[in-house]
Symmetry: C2
Subunit: 185 residues, 2 copies
């Protein structure tokens, strides 16, 4: 008799941004970090470190809830080699999302690596999967967003417990609720 179907556990997904340029990329990497958080990743490893950016994201997490954080790393290679889980490198040169997705769906832990303008060639070798969200040039923010959404689906509000405020979805206009004490999610 087959085992009863169980609800699949959400995998833990961490993101590693390689080749951030603190002087030049602050807004782009901020968007990347916020998208990672909003779409269900648990944390962002940032190479090289950018304490100001990490502080800004920490302030967002305090206000809007959840445990997402940015961890600066001075070398990206150890993050990959020490990671206990599958490593997915997002690149326009890789295999199509639809062909990779069935192979990684059951992984309990995934590290998603996104590069900037210049990506070290070693990344293609060190990753378990090189995955393309379409074989056209676009944006690492867009690629990460589509990947997380396809892998994790909608992010449940319970990911964002403990914030100071939350949005009540509206047809028109804005409605933001101040959360007093504990946010039930």
């Amino acid at each position: 008799m087959p085992a009863p179907r169980r609800k699949r556990r959400r995998p833990d997904v961490a993101v590693l941004r390689v080749g951030h340029r603190p002087g030049r990329d602050p807004r782009l990497t901020t968007h990347l970090a916020l998208a990672a958080r909003a779409l269900g990743a648990s944390r962002l490893f940032l190479h090289p470190p950018d304490p100001e950016l990490a502080d800004r994201i920490a302030a967002v997490a305090r206000r809007w809830g959840g445990t997402f954080g940015v961890l600066g790393v001075s070398s990206w290679k150890p993050v990959l080699s020490e990671y206990r889980g599958g490593v997915v490198h997002l690149t326009m040169y890789g295999e199509a999302l639809t062909s990779v997705l069935p192979r990684i769906r059951r992984a309990p832990r995934l590290l998603v690596v996104v590069g900037g303008a210049k990506v070290p060639a070693a990344l293609f070798e060190d990753a378990d999967y090189n995955l393309a969200i379409g074989s056209q040039p676009h944006s690492e923010v867009a690629a990460l967003a589509v990947f997380l959404h396809r892998l994790l689906g909608d992010t449940p509000p319970s990911r964002f417990r403990g914030g100071e405020q939350r949005i009540i979805p509206q047809r028109r206009g804005k409605r933001v609720l101040a959360v007093r004490g504990r946010n039930p999610g």
Copy 2:
């Protein structure tokens, strides 16, 4: 007798970026334009105009194929009022994607509006739908990418006919094919 099932035609999706700041946002709006193109939108209306950015995107389209282009507009209101189709405003304050999607799936033409840091209040009123990709702060690039991907699915290579080169997806490394003469897509 019910009519036989026909393959649904892909809707035509245009994007309108409101409140671009040419001095400050060039990279972010470039990412937005490239994501719009790669994920199947037909064009980007850019407010206010930014000829340099439009030229950069035109160069990408020449090299990588397709007919996507950036059209500068000095006022965004007429774009909405003259648009013959549904208007979807992406905002973290809006209704959830999953509740809006069934209502817009059959639209033949859609205009997707994305704001920057400050969004004019009138947009909430003038749009047919205010749609949130999660009720958390993140990125207009990420929101647009998830929306286009959910609405249009994978972008067929035929969208990118006529380029000078194309990528052959690989497990490792990069493979780019120079296209001589007409690209069959």
